[in-house]
Subunit: 443 residues, 2 copies
């Protein structure tokens, strides 16, 4: 695929040379300034746009008629109905309700509020923000009660942060690749701009006793979900979040207030937060002793795996977002790390034999989604697409083989109800067939 | 308000000294590290939080019952119903429909999609994205037609950008301050993360003829709204936007694709974009020759006022978001400039006699909302709150008096149907009465 000297008609051909196997192009190829007028992507790389005829343009019906009225709160087009969360419990039976984000149909670095993932164990409470209260007590000099009105008088702070369930990506513990889509595999992770009061300010208000090493956060809905958090996180970047992408929190995401622990396991980010109690030791609640422990191959368990380690996945193409014809595509995906900023994402089109560095969409922010993109020329043959991310703490995604060697895997394909595991951040692989169909694979 | 030597019990009193008249505090006061434990904002500055009693906590009903089910696309709480757009045409009569963003109830740097302002002249078209096409033609080597599927194969780009109607803030042309709220005065400006294809890439695909100096963009809904844009903007940061805050565009904001001209008058950002025609001269369409011209005091008009100049306003407190009692508050607001990045926002509590520099929430991004905040101790007396922003091109907001001297004002209070004017970016003033009520004033 090297440029040949006998191709003078395409002076920018070097922009579209492969930098890694099976069609991966340089991350800056095709990006404006480097392209001279006349580098027709379509004619060079495959038919993207089609030639146009003369005026007049045809008039679809929507150009000839009055449209619909304007609502106070607008919603997506009826043609975007597939851009929706999948529900684990659509009949609302007496068990948890899980809604997953459709990453394969989204772009950019944020999850819109309508599509942020949620997990609620007894439905979504309808909390009156005028009556809700937050108590901070325990090992403090002055136990205090904060109303929403009071919190709004404190210094506020905004930041993007992903929230990810510890169980996100758990299907990749299966010994065989589960044939499902990105939404099913990695849909329990979302990213929003959160605004609220830094917990450290409120803890200062209460006066933390030097004997306090942990705090227990409790939710106000029926499960009264409780988790123990080291006080050091509370004094670092913990926030009482009040707004999500600019508006008050969504009911499923904790309205009117939630604990936000950027980069830490979703279940710790207590929603409908009503209490923070400072204590000397972790409470070993149900959720931390029974659920969010990670069983190891030889019968032991990790405990308190707080951080969601660095992860990435390609969102487009992905299962269900197939390729229609050979030619140029952009590979697009999401990377994030609970430890800090993404520094590098490498992409492979040949199952890991060779890698090219993806472009990262800035500004890159700590513990937030970073969109990565890379142009790819699909030659119509089989391909295995992978992404692998690095963070600024030196962490990087393990291959599935390396991860399984340490953490084990399921002994049979799910559904497996008796076995839970969490914090899987292995490389995800998409197989592209010669028909353009994309499926989940291990490579 | 200077610290006195006889106040040894408050070692951090200097953190809350005034830096400008009528109670403005330093922008870094109260922000965590500077505060020692024991600086109780409530006791020092007024009652924010209240002391707490012993356990057990009381149980509101929502902590004792099953909540509601989980929808595929989630919506705000029923308790957030006031967090809605106001509608100019709620009965959907045969005229334009305008929906304004409730900035006084929002926070952070983004407008959530449900609340982005919209103006539509014949309702909101229901466009099938599978049938919609974008034609680029005129003075190009190769006229081309792009489908949504084709555009998704090009390199995408994400960026935050505000969109603001040229008529936003027009009520401040009134000779007397209109007694309305922030939503009515400045609600025709919103900010989102947009993702799409840079127009320069598509123009390169088509091959721009050297005689092309402008392009005319046309919308696909019934008004077929057309505006002329210099080709230089098209080759700079113009984008064919496909996603808004991560999901496909809202119907009212141009689904399935719109022109985005960051920092330029909203009406130019053609929604439902179906055509870009490259031409030698501006087309002098209805919208640019009849509507979006700015009449001057002596009968002449500006023409082609593209850029939305630097602006800011305080969102909290503001009319309807009143103060309940003296003490500590955070002043919060939004600043932006169509020329670039916000570099400074100054805040006054005494009607412009003295000013303090607000904290800017980073990362500060070009042509996007920048949230500013400043702590303020309200002493219970009258105050006039103002904000004034500067951008990195050296532009700054004019006082209303200076602006009126150049641009004029209405000769009587609206409603005035025969007079249009645009691009007002004067300093906004909120009067706070001793009862805590906030109202619009000129100062």
């Amino acid at each position: 695929m090297k440029r040949r000297a006998d191709q003078p008609e395409q002076p920018n051909r070097q922009d579209i040379e492969e930098v890694a196997g099976n069609g991966l192009l340089h991350r800056r190829a095709l990006l404006g300034k480097g392209m001279a007028a006349g580098t027709l992507l379509g004619s060079t790389l495959g038919p993207l746009a089609t030639g146009a005829a003369a005026e007049p343009l045809t008039e679809p019906q929507w150009g000839l008629e009055i449209g619909e009225d304007t609502p106070p709160y607008q919603s997506p087009s009826k043609f975007s109905q597939k851009v929706a969360r999948t529900l684990s419990n659509p009949k609302f039976e007496p068990r948890s309700s899980i809604a997953r984000t459709p990453h394969h149909l989204l772009e950019g670095s944020l999850t819109p509020n309508g599509l942020h993932f949620t997990i609620n164990h007894t439905g979504i409470p309808q909390i009156d923000p005028g009556r809700h209260k937050l108590l901070i007590h325990g090992l403090v000099k002055r136990p205090l009660v904060f109303t929403l009105d009071a919190l709004l008088r404190y210094p506020l702070h905004s930041r993007p942060a992903f929230v990810e369930c510890g169980g996100n990506s758990a299907p990749l513990f299966s010994p065989k690749p589960i044939q499902s889509d990105l939404q099913a595999l990695h849909g329990l992770s979302s990213c929003a701009e959160w605004t609220g009061v830094k917990l450290s300010i409120l803890l200062d208000e209460c006066g933390v006793d030097s004997s306090a090493k942990w705090f227990v956060a409790e939710g106000g809905d029926a499960p009264h979900l409780m988790r123990s958090v080291p006080i050091s996180k509370g004094m670092d970047d913990a926030m009482i979040a009040l707004y999500q992408n600019g508006e008050p929190l969504m009911p499923g995401n904790g309205f009117p207030m939630r604990l936000l622990l950027p980069g830490w396991e979703g279940n710790l980010n207590i929603k409908f937060l009503r209490r923070i109690k400072l204590v000397t030791d972790p409470a070993m609640t149900f959720w931390e002793s029974q659920v969010y422990t990670e069983p190891m191959p030889k019968g032991k368990s990790y405990n308190f795996t707080f951080i969601n380690e660095v992860k990435s996945f390609i969102t487009r193409p992905s299962p269900g977002v197939d390729l229609k014809q050979p030619g140029l595509y952009e590979l697009s995906g999401i990377a994030y790390s609970g430890k800090g900023k993404i520094t590098k994402v490498m992409v492979s089109a040949d199952g890991g034999k060779s890698w090219a560095e993806a472009a990262l969409q800035g500004p890159i922010q700590s513990k937030a989604f970073t969109r990565f993109r890379l142009p790819w020329r699909w030659n119509g043959g089989p391909a295995i697409l992978q992404s692998r991310a690095w963070d600024d703490q030196g962490a990087f995604q393990p291959t599935r083989a390396a991860f399984v060697a340490e953490r084990g895997q399921l002994d049979r394909e799910p559904p497996v109800t008796a076995f839970r595991n969490h914090h899987c951040n292995v490389i995800t692989s998409w197989a592209v067939s010669s028909s353009g169909k994309v499926s989940h694979t291990y490579a």
